[in-house]
Symmetry: C2
Subunit: 424 residues, 2 copies
Amino acid sequence: MKTNPDRTELAARMSAMGEKARIASRRMAAMSTFDKNNALRAMADALDHESGAIIAENEKDVAAAADKGLSKPMIERLKLDSRKIRGMSDGLRQLIELEDPVGKILSSCIRPNGLKIDKVSVPIGVIAIIYESRPNVTVDSAGLCLKAGNAAILRGGSEAIKSNSALLHCINRAGLEAGVPEGAIQAPPPGREAVNAMLKMDRYIDLVIPRGGEGLIRTVAENSMIPVIKHYKGVCHLYVDASADLDMAERLVVNAKCQRPGVCNAIESLLIHGDIAGSFAPRIAKALSGKGVELRGDCEFRRLAPCAIPATEEDWSEEYLDLVLSVRIVPDVQTAAEHINFYGSQHSDGIIAKDPAAVSYFLNQVDSAVVYHNASTRFTDGGEFGMGAEIGISTDKLHARGPMGLRELNTYKYIVYGNGQCRE
Amino acid sequence: MKTNPDRTELAARMSAMGEKARIASRRMAAMSTFDKNNALRAMADALDHESGAIIAENEKDVAAAADKGLSKPMIERLKLDSRKIRGMSDGLRQLIELEDPVGKILSSCIRPNGLKIDKVSVPIGVIAIIYESRPNVTVDSAGLCLKAGNAAILRGGSEAIKSNSALLHCINRAGLEAGVPEGAIQAPPPGREAVNAMLKMDRYIDLVIPRGGEGLIRTVAENSMIPVIKHYKGVCHLYVDASADLDMAERLVVNAKCQRPGVCNAIESLLIHGDIAGSFAPRIAKALSGKGVELRGDCEFRRLAPCAIPATEEDWSEEYLDLVLSVRIVPDVQTAAEHINFYGSQHSDGIIAKDPAAVSYFLNQVDSAVVYHNASTRFTDGGEFGMGAEIGISTDKLHARGPMGLRELNTYKYIVYGNGQCRE
């Protein structure tokens, strides 16, 4: 079989990158908290000092994006200014304050034969993050991986290539001087081929985290031989029970839909118990319409709120990320839970109710990473959960579920201390 | 596009199976400990009562295996008798004694805004187990999944099809009568196509656990769209440091290699520090040869132990599962750790040493699920770790590492209790 020389060169380059990351990861696992914090401080300072040069590179990306006709919100997300860079450096400084997750004894026991078995937290190793658009993910991810003792391979979107490269060079230079091993933070060469090759490098990479649109995440999940933790879409719900305080329900629904509709923990669907629909449906329709929300309802909801347009089957599993909300009237909490489990994305879903039986049924039966009683779904966030920072919100069930912070960027090993025990 | 009618029928059958398992899993998540234990007892009793019929079905498998010319050890593993069936029913009864892992509050906090956030253990959902040969895995896995609140889809090897089917019918009938929901324990239709279809059913199955040879595990990992926890090969090592107690070292090496060479936590490679090789190499060569172990050494070891044959590059990463051991002389603990990280399978590796610096270097730097100081690697086992029972030993780093018991068959969810909190 003939081999494409470009492909061979790429393969060699990718292996070299992987091996470097693996070697760096072993040294990083042994770095002290003091050294890691020093490096984070040096990286933050470097970002502040070099923000002019970074913005100059970013302007080239922005100009290219405008030429390509990218949408205005996309360009807004791409654009850096000194305030946004200050946000990144402050993010790194906040990581200094957070507890080092490495080396904690999670449990310990002494077996009848005298073996002492400690379960100890250790870094995962090498983590690849594949993301789109926002260049701040470069700095946030690098900082989180460093503090958790992991090497990072960062693959940003092609539209942010110059910005990401400038950010990476800046924090890498500062990190290296502060004692971070070479290869701790790397970017693969550009192009789809490199990503495809990366997803097969299970020898060098321990975990892939895709962050971005549904298409990106699906492609990564389908092609990866490395374990993936998906940070997938948020089709979140609030269910207003017959026993709900309707004033509270109105406030919570409006907050969960309107406070920031473009994020994954905003609600996309509202379920209303039939017994209170007569009073609550017109009221919430008025409140939401007043905020500019387009309502898509089932028959019964539209009868009570004529401003709503018909919802199609697709609407029930759609992540609008916009001022649009689907609404359904349900006969009971069982139907609400079934609807959420069937159409939802196992992200964040809540019940507004006073009846303890309905509350406990809902909280137990809804199979989502975060379930809420009498609160807005918008709280699903590492900061709001007290984790300090997050690499994303996992919609997977294994390893990490919901907001994923420093602790979730670690795994564990068992350390067994003996004095000559043989197995009989 | 034309569709093969057989394939359409299979797809429909598989979806029906998946949906039934999903529905059952929701009901199982809410089963009380009392009800689950009752079901386990009923299943154990049924196995004891129906052991004659099960053995009769097993005899058909054994006869077919003999016709097909399966190896004697394979046939031994396949064969059931009343003692082995009693072992299965006792295994189920032991699960009754173990703590129910579901519904534990893993952590809890109250945020400044008054939100109470509980992190609570919940079943994973639907678990598919793909395994070979030993029919007892059918009963062990079904029991573990049930106690942990999960629905199970069990796909055994084709050579054990009648035995597995008899076992499954027996425990299912007893379970159903005792209140286990229908669909809680299922087997897919036979054939490779069914397995391939199953690995794409990420809508219905939350986790796939392959248990068996390297080929099976690799195929599953490469084709699955569902998260896989691999229970891969064990290329385990002992490293005898210059500071080792050599009497202890001899005992531990002999135990780790010879006590049961066919299992994944037996050692396949021995590393000896150069400073003590002159005395230890001839001594351990004699002890191991006396037990019938074939030694494959590097140059230096063969100089000291002429009975050894040359080790090839492949030997260093080979899982012999037999009375064969590769041996290398290393200059220091750093080289030992590097060798293990490079050639090993991140399963179980140990150091025999008195020097605290060498010990701590080894335990920190060796990136394996279980690292040992002064003990045999043969202790990597759910029972020996005090977990009571295990579904296998994970060589992955995510979710579960090392022995995987009831607790590792659960995930968690966050339950957030509010009183009307909106995000500002």
